[in-house]
Amino acid sequence: MSDQTYVTSDPRGSITQLATPSRLEYFFTAGTSLSKNLRGYQRGQFIGQRCPVCSKVYVPSRGSCPVDGVALTEEVELKNTGTVTTFCVVNVPFAGQSIKIPYIAGQILLDGANLSFMGLIQECELEEVRMGMRVEAVWVDKEDLVPSLASVKYFRPTGEPDAAYETYQEYL
């Protein structure tokens, strides 16, 4: 309460704004399922999980198959490569942003996975990025690996020919 500030932009002198900085700290629970995925990052691996009902592979998983509503059980190690299904170039500054703009945010479908996730794409000119582009994960140095996505520095183009639209269109 000590750092409360008041703003008066009204000619009659009424208080038009009262700023109360607030700070909340949370201890997130990863959960059993996501922990397996996070431990994978610590080893420099993508770990997905397969749904026992529909056999789809989710990475990362929050603990259940969103379609069948059952726990995911079987662990699947995925490759380091994938396809950019779609992307955007972010050029908007906002509070708490940690990456220099403009940057490419791509939806990455790892080979062997059935769900894409958002990843940073670098070592790639902004005008070069495209749907279907093949990419690979670039990991931090071994001693810096942590149980978080922070272990993946970014994705970069592999230089392989683009994936055909038909191979990823159902993930759009």
Partner: protein, 391 residues
Amino acid sequence: MANRVAVIGIGQTHHRSKREDVSIAGLVREAAQRALDDAGCTWADIDAVVVGKAPDMFEGIMMPEHYLAAALGAVGKPMFRVHTAGSVGGSTALVAAHLVAAGLHQRVLTVAFEKQSDSDAMWALSVPQPFSAPLLAGAGGYFAPIIRAYMRRSGAPNDVGMRVAVKDRLQALKNPYAHLHLPDISMKMVEESVLLWDPLHYLESCPSSDGAAAMVLGSEQAATVAESATGRRPAWVHGMAMRSEPTMFAGRDQVNPQAGRDCAKDVYAQAGITNPRAELDCAEVYVPFSWYEPMWLENLGFAAQGEGWKLTESGATALDGGDIPWNCSGGVLSSNPIGASGMLRFLEAALQVRGMAGEHQVEGARKALGHAYGGGAQFFAMWIVGSERPN
């Protein structure tokens, strides 16, 4: 079995980037008082209050409806708080409407708001979560890749989004409540604005607004009383539906979500509509980013898959000369008090069929669609309102 539901009072605030002249309580009360005045009733006539808003982090107040109870005349009454992400303004109206349809109440006040200037919505939507990459840059960053997928899938020309951006801003000039009034808006101006989330330009995105929307929903009896007291006819609810699907799952069609298609099918069936383009006179559809007009034209059955952009391009969705005008009020692209944006769609649809939309009135409008969506385009809320009492 359900009782008929009528929209008997409508109110909204002037939407601005900062409403420094009012507190949150003052903001919601402004909209609510206008709705009560329109319905020709007083706070004492209201049986229950249903409040909706988007995430509490947008203002930094947890469950603000508690503090707003007195300002909204809810003391001693049932008060309810809905939160279904961006669709919340629509869902809130539906929750209120069901209270009347179920026969529980005669008159329900429903209010939705956002006072985005009280905090930082971009920050609230991009709170760093430890288990995902810190890439998400607000809603635009989420939806831009999906828009790109639509462009690829439909083969639409690149300028369709810009056409929507211009059309909705021109329509907003006819709505005194709209936040953005850009008389000089042009394709060139949109194209030259910053590419915030390539492929989306700054002017293809919704603004950040302070504002509130309110409606008094009434039973058939309350509608009769209101009409004889005010001389203004009600809008009748002909159908209402909600649908949800998971945010992400293998094989999810993010461009044309099943939940949106199912929700539209349900609401049309209730209203006896088989061809929405022909049978509806106008629609207020949640289009926060320009490309969502052609995408929702397809999702809602106004155009065949892959053909939505052709309707936009032909001018069919314009108030001026179109056969099925969309977002005559200027839509979300012109005013976006997030929690209220969905309710504004519902409320504008009702204004149209009451013949009370002023300069942006579609002449002789008899049936209109109100639509809202939220989350990762996974939550849908819709209603159809008409000038005639439903069977």
